[in-house]
């Protein structure tokens, strides 16, 4: 079985509900009341200060994308959308595009969460199974870090993709297994070559022993939990727009593109 749980490309969603010009295929907003597909949007301290809005064009040739930004100087700022899955998912694959073109000022303590997989059950003080975080690369460049929950030690296991992300659009895919011992594992791909056959992984985190969290209950995409250095005005990335697009999740097979 290969159940595709959700494709949340804003353009695809828009095409289902709109007709006419290219502009018209975009929903008014990312959430269902505005014609989008996401369950909710979180914009703290306000929608004006940390907007999460639909913009054109998309990142993959489609019509629309989600753009997010965080209020300058506010480490409590958030700008993300969330989709609540219908069931708890112990075998979870996800993929999304993120545009880092405007993130040009990373320093030693800069970091921001761009994707989260909330858990069905909170355990060991965490209500999530996975975070994908942008951190500093060489100089002011960016790298992507995967932070998975584990039953061992400090309950956090990390893996940082050891190549800087050049400013631009990047495709991030992951496969998260939730289970006892070695059944809990994260495999990830960063900017994998085109194709639908699963290639060699960019990285893995093995033996997570994460059964206590049950499974993935939702997907959160956007910016949240920034460090002070990230939301600084200068040098920093406060107020800088970050685009997201083409979120896809499924249970079994590699997503690819």
């Amino acid at each position: 079985m290969n159940a595709k749980m959700k494709v949340l490309s804003l353009a695809l969603v828009g095409l289902c509900g709109f007709a006419g010009s290219a502009m018209a295929v975009c929903p008014a907003g990312p959430t269902t009341p505005d014609g989008g597909a996401w369950t909710s949007a979180v914009t703290q301290p306000s929608a004006a200060a940390s907007p999460a809005v639909v913009a054109v064009p998309g990142l993959d040739g489609s019509e629309c994308k989600l753009t997010t930004a965080l209020a300058v100087g506010n480490t409590a700022a958030s700008s993300f959308v969330r989709y609540n899955h219908a069931a708890s998912e112990p075998n979870y694959r996800f993929q999304f595009l993120v545009d880092t073109s405007n993130l040009l000022a990373f320093s030693s303590s800069s970091n921001v969460v761009i994707y989260q997989a909330p858990a069905t059950t909170a355990a060991n003080g965490f209500n999530r199974l996975l975070r994908v975080v942008l951190v500093q690369g060489n100089g002011s460049a960016t790298r992507v870090r995967f932070i998975a929950q584990t039953s061992a030690g400090a309950h956090i296991a990390t893996s940082t993709f050891a190549t800087d992300l050049a400013p631009g659009v990047h495709r991030i895919e992951g496969k998260l297994g939730v289970g006892a011992g070695a059944a809990g594992q994260l495999t990830y791909w960063v900017d994998a070559a085109a194709g639908t056959t699963e290639p060699a992984a960019s990285g893995t985190i093995a033996n997570l022993d994460n059964a206590a969290w049950g499974g993935v209950s939702a997907a959160s995409l956007g910016l949240t939990a920034p460090s002070a250095a990230f939301v600084a005005a200068a040098p920093g990335n406060g107020g800088k727009t970050v685009g997201f697009d083409t979120f896809d999740s499924r249970r079994q097979t590699y997503i690819g593109h």
């Binding site: 303590s109 956090i156 990390t158």
Partner: protein
């Protein structure tokens, strides 16, 4: 064992340490800047324990050698500080960052739960916090992930308070 006690030293009894074992419970030194921010705190992360800081919910993995100080933030309004500047004096030997972690949280030494940062900063971004809650905090200077496997991956630094940092080190223990 030498016990140095400042300002009443109510916390000194909680500390035990051995030389070179840089842990949250054994801060390496005192820092008690006056109203003008003097003196600066000069230190080095080299020779200290690694892996102390897996804090900020893992966002700052910071597996490299760490320098730990414990400070007490006085009650408001004195408890607002608005600037600690971190300077890498090693010539770029490491990717220095400073995390401020509530001491009430489990020590982020890898043996317990990971503590959230009250705030953090680095050489480009001074630590700034205008409404930090009064209490005890760890100041942890370390390097980030880029220092994994790097040689030396550690270095010297200077912390400078902007003159409004009302921290008072209650006590510390070194051997």
């Amino acid at each position: 064992m030498k016990v140095n006690v400042l300002c009443g030293a109510l916390l000194a009894v909680a500390f035990s340490a051995s030389a070179g074992a840089q842990t949250c419970a054994s801060p390496v030194t005192t820092w008690h800047p006056d109203g003008g921010g003097s003196p600066d705190l000069n230190g080095s992360t080299c020779g200290n324990e690694t892996g102390i800081l897996s804090t900020c919910s893992g966002a700052n993995g910071a597996p490299s050698k760490a320098y730990v100080a414990r400070v007490t933030i006085a009650a408001q309004p004195q408890g607002s500080f608005n600037g600690i500047t971190l300077t890498d004096t090693s010539g770029g030997a490491f990717h220095a960052l400073l995390a401020v972690v509530p001491a009430a949280s489990p020590c982020p030494d890898g043996s317990g739960d990971v503590s959230p940062c009250a705030t953090s900063g680095d050489t480009a971004n001074p630590v700034q916090h205008t409404n930090i809650s009064p209490g005890d905090y760890f100041l942890i200077v370390t390097g980030n992930d880029l220092d994994i496997g790097a040689v030396p991956g550690c270095g010297t630094f200077t912390l400078h308070a902007d003159g409004t940092l009302p921290v008072t080190l209650q006590g510390f223990t070194v051997s």
